[in-house]
């Protein structure tokens, strides 16, 4: 190493030298998802850039009374069969019938409640569902077909966005006080980067694999935001510390490089521990939470990238520009 002071034992990544490369890779990572979002916004109903589930749109509840007991595995079978029959993301719940209520048909033991997108008057869809259930149950009795409003309406979505905006503002103020405005701005841009990547990925998944976004998606995004800020702050904290000791001996670029490399092991190990849990949930966990886990896997991975190759590069870039402006004057 050419520098006289070497404060890290290992120099694996040169943030400063290849900053154009890193920024280009970042742009390339974001491009497909952004195109997907725009494409979907133009083509989707109501111009929503993501395929939204019944949590947001409301839908139809079909209730079938059956005489048999329903086990967990049988519930899984019903779900798979319905999906095979072409029903998108059916939300299935078992209602244990209360004998007093079933005045007409006292034999009914359980009610299979299926929530799906609006069916309206399409009897063909209803018939298809009845047919699927008839495979495993004797004469499933269609008790009711009713429409339900969204559990996550527009109002709720708007409130969440307002809350998120205020949270961003809070983070910006805190980081400006503890660090500098440049750092705060970089951290916020890092979050925006991660959220854009994950929503973009889901827009693409929606276009190509018909993946829907449900109420849990908001939670997944919030989790990603939480981690993203954490990662970024750890790097910035190291920069702040190194600046205190070495700002006279080293350039800002060198300090940034050293800090990223010093925190590299931590960044990778932390992300790895989270990814271990998430991958286990993805591969061994239930079907209903798969997309939720996938959103987090994508988000945590991209969050690690952005804290190392995006936020740090941004701060270094701005600092460099300022310095050049000063020396030019």
């Amino acid at each position: 190493m050419a520098t006289s002071i070497n404060i890290t034992s290992r120099h694996l990544i040169d943030i400063v030298k290849y900053r154009v490369v890193w920024l280009c890779i970042t742009a390339m990572l974001l491009l497909p998802g952004t195109i997907g979002l725009i494409w979907a916004a133009i083509h989707n109903e109501h111009h929503i850039p993501l395929k939204v589930g019944i949590d947001y749109t409301g839908g139809t509840i079909l209730q079938y009374g059956v005489k048999e007991d329903i086990s967990n595995t049988a519930l899984g079978t019903i779900r798979t069969n319905l999906e095979k029959a072409g029903l998108e993301n059916p939300n299935i719940q078992i209602i244990h019938a209360n004998a007093e209520n079933q005045k007409e048909n006292k034999d009914i033991k359980n009610i299979i409640s299926i929530r799906t997108k609006f069916i309206g008057q399409e009897t063909s869809t209803v018939n298809k569902i009845t047919e699927v259930l008839s495979q495993d149950y004797q004469n499933p009795d269609l008790i009711s077909v009713s429409s339900v409003g969204p559990t996550l309406g527009k109002e709720l979505f708007k409130n969440s966005l307002i809350a998120l905006t205020l949270a961003f503002l809070g983070i910006t103020i805190y980081l400006t006080v503890r660090f500098k405005f440049d750092y705060a701005l970089a951290a916020i841009l890092g979050i925006a980067h991660d959220v854009l990547f994950v929503t973009g990925a889901f827009a693409l998944l929606g276009i190509f694999y018909n993946v829907q976004v449900d109420g849990l998606f908001i939670t997944a995004i919030l989790t990603v935001v939480g981690f993203s800020v954490h990662d970024t702050i750890v790097v910035f904290d190291r920069v702040r510390e190194n600046l205190r000791y070495y700002s006279k001996k080293m350039s800002f670029g060198e300090i940034m490089n050293a800090s990223v490399n010093q925190t590299l092991a931590r960044s990778l190990n932390t992300s790895l521990t989270i990814l271990i849990t998430l991958l286990a949930l993805y591969f061994f966990g239930g079907v209903t939470t798969k997309d939720f886990v996938l959103a987090m896997i994508l988000g945590i991975t991209i969050g690690t990238w952005s804290s190392i190759f995006f936020c740090s590069v941004l701060v270094e870039f701005w600092e460099d520009k300022k310095k050049k402006a000063v020396s030019a004057a």
């Binding site: 404060i7 034992s9 967990n72 519930l75 899984g76 779900r79 939300n91 719940q93 078992i94 244990h96 019938a97 209360n98 209520n101 409640s113 339900v148 409003g149 559990t151 709720l156 409130n159 969440s160 809350a163 998120l164 205020l166 949270a167 809070g170 805190y174 980081l175 849990l216 908001i218 939670t219 997944a220 919030l222 935001v225 939480g226 800020v229 954490h230 702050i233 750890v234 904290d237 190291r238 510390e241 000791y245 010093q262 092991a265 931590r266 190990n269 932390t270 790895l272 521990t273 989270i274 271990i276 849990t277 286990a280 061994f284 966990g285 239930g286 079907v287 209903t288 939470t289 939720f292």
Partner: protein
Amino acid sequence: MKNKIILFWAIVLIVIASIVTICVKPTKLGLDLVGGSRLVLEAETTKDIATITPDVMSRLQFAIENRVNKLGVAETVVQQVGDKRLLIEIPNVTDLKEAKAFLGETAQLVFKKEAVGKDGEQVWEDVGLTGQDLAKSTLSTDQTGQWVVSLEFNAAGSKKFADLTKALVGKQMAIFFDGELQSAPVIREPIYGGKAQISGGDSGFEYAEAERMVNLLNAGALPVPAKIVEENTVGPTLGADSIAKSKFAGAVGLGFVMLFMVLVYRLPGLIADIALIIYSLMLFALFKAIPVTLTLAGIAGFILSIGMAVDANILIFERMKEELRAGRNLFTAINSGFDRAFTSIFDSNMTTIITSVILYMLGSSIVKGFALTLAIGVVVSMFSAITITKNFMHLIFGTGELKYPALFGLKASEIGKAYEATETKRENARFGILD
């Protein structure tokens, strides 16, 4: 050293308290995870409200929602079905009687004034003040320590109530619920501002009596009466099959994380694992004690906070390794590992707390559950990842030299070779002193 032993026993006590809490208190899981009861309410018309308009329904939904979701977390789902029905899904409760008790009375509350009938007997006359004018009722005590029932009216109710009390000074005003007389306090003076108290006369209220009043008053704060038309118990919305699988997967994942910590960080990793187990116990006990109803979103917040607790330890251990490589002695390395990592742990956790407080205050139900568990989790994780781990490290390693670098996952040749040791000089004195 003495302080450390005291702290150690304090931690042991906390663990025991947590385990007891976990054993004694029931777990509250959300509708998505365990299912519960499903009630359907139908709104009924009254003299004043002849038709059930969408506005009435949304006020009814709001009132019911406020009543059932006390912490504001998505415990109970209240959803409008059709024109005049509300679907209420209560998690955990599979006993329908209990479910109905939880929902509370759905009949309406009416205020009436004293009047004299044709034959000179006392009769009660409608005054146009009903349950929908009442904002809420709470149980409290007065200066003498007796139980009183506090009433708070909404804006419209406050005005009506002020006018009424002005006209009724010295007379009785009665509260009727479902047609039955509940209480008939005497108005002592005109009451402005919409806040009133009912005391139990000279003998005072029994606690149970006052509590019953409060429950009835709150129950009566519905815009229209409603009756239960359907009642069933339901399975989890996320599907029992999926949840069983995810439970297994979550356990496998956590197991791998613990293994990872031991493999990478060796003895400190093992200590962190123990701290993590204590952390989970404490958090779980807290969730049960508050009580927080755990939904999948809440569990996501929980997992995120576990991640942050692990992260704090990784930060500390990486720093310790660096300090050891730089040639500092074990005790100093442990202390500076904690001290140096503290600012980044603190700053990153502060942003998380800021975010979760804002999300809890403004977010919608699903976001609230997440924010609540995350905020509690982060606060507890600071304690476990810093205080508990540090205490265990000090008790195990004492002030001795590091004889076996492999315990930290380091090679003997790495120690003291890394970089100049100028960094911590300024704070050396502080780290060197035994606390």
